[in-house]
Symmetry: C2
Subunit: 206 residues, 2 copies
């Protein structure tokens, strides 16, 4: 059994969305030896920093939040699709060639996975490609960028997926992962009434 | 396939260690509709709040931290042991009767699971019981309290386990979980250079 850890490491100098300082995690030592008998850290973090899942509420005032999220979809088949040639937006035509099946978690592996810093021109999912995935009835969609789209007006890719009960994972690291099928486990933190949650995500090759 | 979610819910009014205000999570809305086009939350949290794993560094200045932690031990067999009759400290004799095997993750289910608030007299693991588990070469030990011990001088149970490469999970919720064997998955957040990490933990009944 081989594991691929496809999560970003949360650390002070990590890449954050649009390099915004407000998105950087802040670490504070709140107890340390020898003055105290233990070490303890407090972490302040935007829930969209690092690898995370978006719930519908993120883009929809009436959308459901973490309280409505089931755990079952976070276990199951994932297919990593190789899109190394896409320079800008992933289109429907790019996905039509891929072995995507109903019920899949589709993980989009692009040139984004080659960079560690934040790329303002990161490859994103077009609205038509998101609609195509919704039509295919996939279970979830993940991408190797901190956004599934680049702040497109109205966030159409988010709406096409979240509005159809398809979860979104942003901030995956897929550089070392061959494009094929895996077992996926990615457990979001259990946080009440929020629009997103950080998660640790793993692919398992049996 | 049946799942038991054995994680605490992270929310403003959750139980925290010794009811200390500094341990309560703080939620801040940093973007909200309609003023912005998205909802976003920032969370400030002590890494020992809610369900979390302790790394050796928590109690040992020279102990290893999250950077040294492997993922493999977080997948595998867990055995839930019923200790409803223990009033104070779990002793070696309480564990000797239990079906604990080498390599197990041992989850201690006590009367702690019946309370939602913080109980200053929570059932904890005695040093001799921790040494017994280390001698049995278990893989990890989890408990349904926010501490595996009650701030005992020198933290002997932490040392007996962490010093022998056995990980500790604190803050489990086991009330609804029958005492038997399960498949365990509990993924800690991937945070660099810290002494603990929050995790979502699940038991799977095949």
């Amino acid at each position: 059994m081989k594991f691929y850890d496809i999560s970003m490491t949360i650390e002070p100098r990590m890449a954050v969305y649009k390099d915004r300082d407000a998105k950087r995690p802040i670490f504070k030592a709140v107890a340390s030896q020898p003055a105290q008998s233990v070490y303890e850290t407090e972490l302040t973090m935007n829930l969209h920093t690092g690898t995370h899942v978006d719930y519908p509420r993120h883009v929809m005032p009436e959308g459901s939040d973490s309280n409505a999220a089931e755990l079952t979809p976070f276990f199951g088949t994932a297919v990593v699709v190789e899109l190394a040639d896409v320079e800008d937006a992933i289109g429907k035509a790019d996905l039509e060639k891929q072995p995507i099946r109903r019920g899949d978690l589709v993980l989009l592996k692009t040139r984004n996975s080659l960079r560690e810093d934040f790329d303002f021109r990161f490859v994103y999912l077009s609205a038509e490609a998101a609609e195509y995935l919704a039509h295919k009835q996939v279970r979830g969609v993940g991408i190797d960028a901190l956004g599934i789209e680049r702040d497109q007006p109205g966030h159409p890719a988010h709406h096409a997926l979240l509005g159809n009960g398809i979860f979104i994972i942003e901030g995956l690291r897929l550089r070392d992962v061959p494009a094929k099928r895996y077992r996926f486990v990615g457990l979001p933190l259990k946080i009440a009434m929020v629009e997103a949650a950080p998660l640790r995500a793993v692919l398992i090759e049996d």
